[in-house]
C-alpha cells in the first residue's frame, strides 16, 4: 500500500527508503490480528452456518449461529477500532457464550460429543488468547492512577498572572479577529 501510494505524491517529495520502529506495540498488533480473525469467523458464521452446525450435530440452530456471526463481526470492528479494549473484552464475553452453547449441546453417549469437545478445546484456546490480549491492551494504554503532577508552577507568565491580565489590550492586538 505504501508503495502504491507513492504514485499519488509529487515526484520530488521524499520517498520511503527503509521502515523503522513504530507506534504499534505487540498488544496492538495482537488486537489487530484478533479483529481480522473475528471478521473472518463472523462472515463464515453469517453466510455458511451449515458448515459449522453439521460437524457439531447442531442442525436446526443455523439462526443462532448467524446471530453469533453478527456478534463476531461487531466485536471484530470494535477490535480494529481505537476502542479495541472494548472490542477484545466483548470477544471474551462472546467466547463464554460460545462455550456455554457448546457445553449445552453435549448429550450422554452422543457421537457428536467428540467434535463438540474438540470445538470446546479450540474455543478455550482462543479465550485464553483473547484474555491475554485484552489484559495486555488494557495495561498498555492505561493511565495509571495515583498522585498527579499539578503543574501549579506553570503559569506561562514570567512576570506573573496579575501583570499579564489585560496586558495585550493596549498593544492593538485585540482587533482584526
Amino acid at each position: 500500500m505504501t508503495f502504491l501510494s507513492q504514485f499519488a505524491r509529487s515526484e520530488r517529495d521524499p520517498r520511503l527508503l527503509k521502515s523503522g520502529s513504530g507506534s504499534l506495540g505487540l498488544p496492538d498488533r495482537l488486537a489487530k490480528g484478533l479483529g481480522w480473525f473475528s471478521l473472518a469467523l463472523g462472515a463464515a458464521e453469517l453466510f455458511a452456518p451449515g458448515r459449522i452446525t453439521r460437524p457439531l450435530g447442531l442442525q436446526g440452530k443455523e439462526t443462532i449461529v448467524r446471530a453469533y456471526g453478527m456478534r463476531e463481526i461487531a466485536s471484530g470492528l470494535l477490535s480494529l477500532s481505537i476502542d479495541k479494549k472494548a472490542g477484545l473484552w466483548s470477544r471474551v464475553a462472546g467466547d463464554v457464550v460460545d462455550l456455554v452453547t457448546l457445553f449445552n449441546a453435549m448429550r450422554p453417549g452422543a457421537r457428536r460429543n467428540e467434535n463438540l469437545t474438540v470445538a470446546m478445546v479450540v474455543v478455550l484456546g482462543v479465550t485464553l488468547l483473547d484474555l491475554l490480549s485484552s489484559t495486555a491492551v488494557t495495561v498498555a494504554h492505561r493511565r495509571p492512577a495515583g498522585s498527579f503532577k499539578r503543574y501549579a508552577d506553570r503559569s506561562g507568565y514570567p512576570q506573573g498572572v496579575e501583570d499579564a491580565r489585560g496586558a495585550a489590550r493596549g498593544r492593538g492586538m485585540a482587533g482584526a479577529g
Binding site: T2, R12, D13, P14, L17, Y151, A152, Y157, V161, G175
Partner: protein, 391 residues
C-alpha cells in the same frame, strides 16, 4: 533523512526517507531543530481525517535553520536564518492573503481541485496533513521543504530558545485567534472547553486580552492544574455539572464567549450519553465528528454571545441544536489559524517577557522515540500535555 511516517491507524514509524529538494523558486529547505506533536496529529493517528496515504510524513509544528533557498525566496530568507514554520502555507499575493486570511490562501493547496470537489472551495496547503490540503510532507523530520518560503516563515531572534518560540507556528496563534474571535470586553467571562495545548494557549490569550473571568473545563487534574496556574477557574466535568457550575460562576447569565478547544474527538463517557451515541455513529461511518462540546456550548452560552471554535472538525456533525443557536442570537467564529496575522505581536509579547509558551512542554524526546510518544500523548500517560521532538 529520518522522519515520522504515517502507515495507517495508530501506526506511525520512524522511517528512513529520501531528502527533500527545492521544487520551486520560492521554496526553502529547513534543517529542523525542534518539532512538536499536535492534538490534531492525533486525529491523523486515529485515521479520522480523510485522504491520508501510507507513506505520508507527519508534523506541522516545526522550526529550524534555513539550509537551502530557492532563487525566488532569496530576498526574504538566507542560509543560516532561524525560522519557525507556520502550519498554514500561504502565498501572500492572492485575494485572501491580501485580506489576511492566510489559512484560506487560494494558491498554496496543490490539490485544490480535489478539495474543491469536497469543500466547494479550496483552502490553504497544510504541512503533514491530508492530501485534501496538498499532502505536503510534514516537519516531524530532519529536514522539511517549505513552499512559498519567502512568506511562509516567522524569523525568530537567537536570544529566545526553541522552546519559547516553537509554538508561534501553531498552538499559540491558534489559541490567540480563538480568544480574539471572542471580542473580549473587560466585563466578559470566557469559558474554554478542553485544557490541552490549544486550550492552555486560549486561556492565556483570554487573560492577556483582559477577560474578567476565564473558566477552564476538562477532566484531567494536571491539565486543570495548569489552567488554574494560568489564571482560570477550573471545572472538572467528572466531579461536577458543567452547566450548574457555569451558572453559579456567571450569576445565571452564562459565559459571554465559549471556546471549543476540543474538536472532533470529545471524551466519551456514560455520564454524557450523547458521546456514546456519537462514538457508535463515528465507528459506523455515519458521522465524522463528535459534537458534545458544541451542543453544551450552544446550551450554556449567554444569548448574543460568541462561540469560537479552534478545535478541528472534519465533516458531518450530528444533532446540533441549531434552533437554540439561532434563537439565542449566537455568533459562530471558527477556522484554521491565519498564523502570520498574529505572530508579530505574539513574538513581541514573548520578547517583552509577558508570555513564555514553553510552560506547556511536559515531554521532550528524540525523533526515534516519536512513535512511542504518540500513544503516550493520546493516553495522557505520565501527565503528558505537550511533546517536543528533537531530530
Amino acid at each position: 533523512m529520518r522522519a515520522l511516517v504515517w502507515h495507517g491507524k495508530e501506526d506511525i514509524r520512524c522511517d528512513e526517507v529520501s531528502d527533500p529538494e527545492i521544487q520551486d523558486d520560492r521554496d526553502a529547505i529547513i534543517k529542523v531543530t525542534s518539532c512538536a506533536i499536535c492534538g490534531s496529529d492525533l486525529h491523523l493517528f486515529h485515521n479520522l481525517i480523510p485522504a491520508m496515504l501510507p507513506g505520508d510524513i507527519v508534523g506541522h509544528e516545526m522550526m529550524g535553520e534555513v539550509v537551502e533557498v530557492g532563487r525566488g525566496a532569496a530576498g526574504a530568507l538566507q542560509k543560516g536564518d532561524r525560522i519557525v514554520v507556520p502550519f498554514t502555507i500561504y502565498c501572500g499575493e492572492c485575494d485572501q492573503c491580501r485580506r489576511g486570511n492566510f489559512s484560506v490562501c487560494e494558491r498554496s493547496n496543490r490539490n485544490a481541485r480535489i478539495q474543491e470537489n469536497v469543500f466547494g472551495h479550496a483552502t490553504a496547503g497544510l504541512f503533514g496533513y491530508t492530501h485534501l490540503t496538498g499532502g505536503y510532507p510534514g516537519g516531524q523530520a530532519e529536514y522539511v521543504r517549505v513552499p512559498f518560503a519567502d512568506r511562509t516563515h516567522i524569523k525568530v531572534p537567537d536570544s529566545l530558545s526553541d522552546e519559547q518560540v516553537l509554538f508561534l507556528g501553531d498552538i499559540l496563534p491558534t489559541g490567540w485567534q480563538a480568544a480574539v474571535q471572542c471580542d473580549i470586553k473587560p466585563t466578559d467571562t470566557v469559558a474554554v472547553w478542553g485544557c490541552g495545548p490549544v486550550g492552555q494557549m486560549a486561556i492565556r490569550s483570554a487573560v492577556l486580552l483582559g477577560a474578567k473571568q476565564v473558566i477552564a473545563i476538562d477532566r484531567l487534574p494536571e491539565r486543570l492544574g495548569m489552567a488554574a496556574a494560568g489564571g482560570a477557574v477550573a471545572i472538572n466535568f467528572d466531579d461536577e455539572s458543567v452547566i450548574e457550575r457555569l451558572d453559579e460562576l456567571t450569576g445565571g447569565k452564562g459565559p459571554d464567549a465559549c471556546i471549543d478547544a476540543v474538536g472532533m474527538e470529545s471524551h466519551v463517557g456514560f455520564a454524557q450519553p450523547d458521546t456514546v451515541y456519537d462514538r457508535a455513529k463515528q465507528m459506523m461511518m455515519l458521522e465524522n465528528d463528535r459534537g458534545h462540546v458544541l451542543r453544551e456550548m450552544i446550551y450554556v452560552c449567554r444569548p448574543a454571545g460568541v462561540i469560537s471554535i479552534p478545535g478541528v472538525y472534519s465533516g458531518l456533525v450530528d444533532k446540533i441544536p441549531f434552533g437554540l443557536a439561532m434563537n439565542k442570537g449566537l455568533t459562530f467564529r471558527m477556522g484554521q489559524t491565519h498564523v502570520n496575522r498574529w505572530t508579530e505581536g505574539l513574538l513581541k509579547l514573548i520578547e517583552d517577557g509577558l508570555l513564555d509558551p514553553s510552560f506547556v512542554i511536559t515531554h521532550t524526546a528524540s525523533l526515534e522515540d516519536g512513535p512511542e510518544m504518540y500513544p503516550l500523548f493520546r493516553d495522557k500517560r505520565d501527565q503528558c500535555v505537550k511533546v517536543v521532538l528533537k531530530p
